[in-house]
Amino acid sequence: MQTTRRDFFKFATLGGAAAAVFGFDLRPAYAQLRVLKIARANETRSTCPYCAVGCGTIIYTIGDRAKNVTPQVVHVEGDPDHPTNRGTLCPKGSSLAQDILNDRRLLKPQVRRPGGTQWEDISWEDALSEIAHKIKKTRDDSFIEKDAKGITVNRTEAISWIGGCTDTNEFNFLVVKAMRALGVVHLENQARV
């Protein structure tokens, strides 16, 4: 065999061009390489936000990670490795890309005051602060320390919590801890993720 040391290293390091070692003409391949339009995509696992089934999805984002380029979602498909849906999506889930790329999608918090007819913009900081104050006030106003039989219950029946389907198990664990500490008894989540 006429295998030289040079041949060995060509194979070991070039990988894709080892065919040249055999004597194949790679000039047409190099010519096509110059005209190929190659785009970088990233695949990200996520969970469909619509219902309690919690189907797995893969989101395709195009972008070369340059600082002046905003990654663009181009496609959403079912995750074939997800045990719940094995690559399938319902018609609503299949339209997820339109949910992400939508001019009407809300990107900031808004509030509609009691008696008001319009939604007003509010900063995240103000929104969180206002929610905290309302929770505190509601709890203080409605707190029940003992029931009619005199048994200590330490609860509030004026606050309830319902979780979303994309909430993870860990997030729901923290929610239950926080809500039970407040005395919330009307508590439900969709702990499937």
Partner: protein
């Protein structure tokens, strides 16, 4: 597996190679040569299937109650019967000598001049180590046994029972070989990823977002590169280990035949190399 069924698989590869050549693929020269190799592999695979069928008939004639060709557990590598294939090695070398480019033809001439003990050593050592230590074998020393023994390895793998696997394997569950190619096949509305073994061509399922080389799971470090002109071929790279896996997306082109489309995608291998990525296992012709 009958010889006709084996032949159909290779016919599909030959037809696909002809189609890509007709479409003026930049890998036309490679595909033309591959067509000849695939024709030889088809004949060899059919002979192996026929020989196995004869052997089974003889075995079953004495005991009617014995199971017929039941898949058995075990490694593909335990099953090499060189006496069955070695007589064909000279005609294979002759085929390469007549159709390959100069350097490969010269290597075929060199091997043909060796005594048959050297052929046995070449084929046996490849059979034992293929897909595991290929980086330590030269391009020439790898091509001949790989092209010649692949139909046999593939046939043996097709008759093996696949052991139940609870984890994602980075090597072939039947022979321990590393994958050289990925395939996305339709699963639901998406594409499930399968790895193709570089030795026995067995396909096993593999998670979509996982590097088959180093096990990286961080989605940000696993970019996929696709050329606008050939959207069904993906370069699935890993920025941690700097290796890439080429994957044929059958959900984009259902007519693709993965081993053939992989050969035709040599410009993407060149592109990946230019961008610092190496291929875990090269294909038959080192593209």
């Amino acid at each position: 597996m009958t010889s006709q069924a084996v032949g159909i698989e290779y016919d599909a590869r030959i037809r696909r190679a002809e189609k890509l050549i007709a479409e003026k693929s930049p890998a036309s020269e490679i595909l033309s040569f591959y067509k000849r190799i695939a024709s030889f592999q088809k004949t060899l695979a059919m002979q192996i299937a026929d020989a196995n069928r004869q052997q089974l008939l003889q075995t079953n004639s004495g005991a009617e109650q014995r199971p017929r060709d039941t898949p058995q557990f075990g490694s593909v590598r335990d099953a090499l019967d060189l006496a069955l294939v070695l007589p064909q090695f000279r005609s294979f070398l002759s085929l390469v000598e007549q159709n390959a480019p100069n350097r490969l033809a010269a290597a075929a001439r060199g091997i043909a001049a060796l005594p048959s003990e050297s052929w046995t050593a070449l084929l046996t050592s490849y059979w034992e180590n293929a897909g595991r230590f290929d980086q330590q074998i030269s391009a020439f020393a790898q091509f001949f046994p790989r092209a010649f023994l692949q139909p046999y390895a593939s046939y043996v793998a097709g008759r093996k029972a696949v052991p139940p696997v609870l984890v994602t394997l980075r090597v072939c569950p039947l022979c321990g070989g590393r994958p050289y190619l990925g395939v996305l096949r339709v699963e639901g509305d998406g594409g499930k990823r399968w790895m193709v073994c570089s030795f026995c061509e067995h396909e096993w399922d593999f998670r979509r977002l996982l590097c088959p080389t180093c096990g990286e799971e961080d989605e940000k470090k696993l970019p996929v590169y696709v050329a606008e002109q050939i959207p069904h071929i993906r370069v699935e790279a890993c920025e941690t280990c700097k290796f890439f896996m080429r994957t044929i997306d059958m959900t984009k082109d259902g007519y693709a035949v993965p081993p053939v489309d992989d050969l035709a995608a040599i410009p993407l291998s060149l592109w990946a190399h230019e961008h610092g990525f190496s291929r875990l296992q090269p294909n038959l012709l080192g593209c």
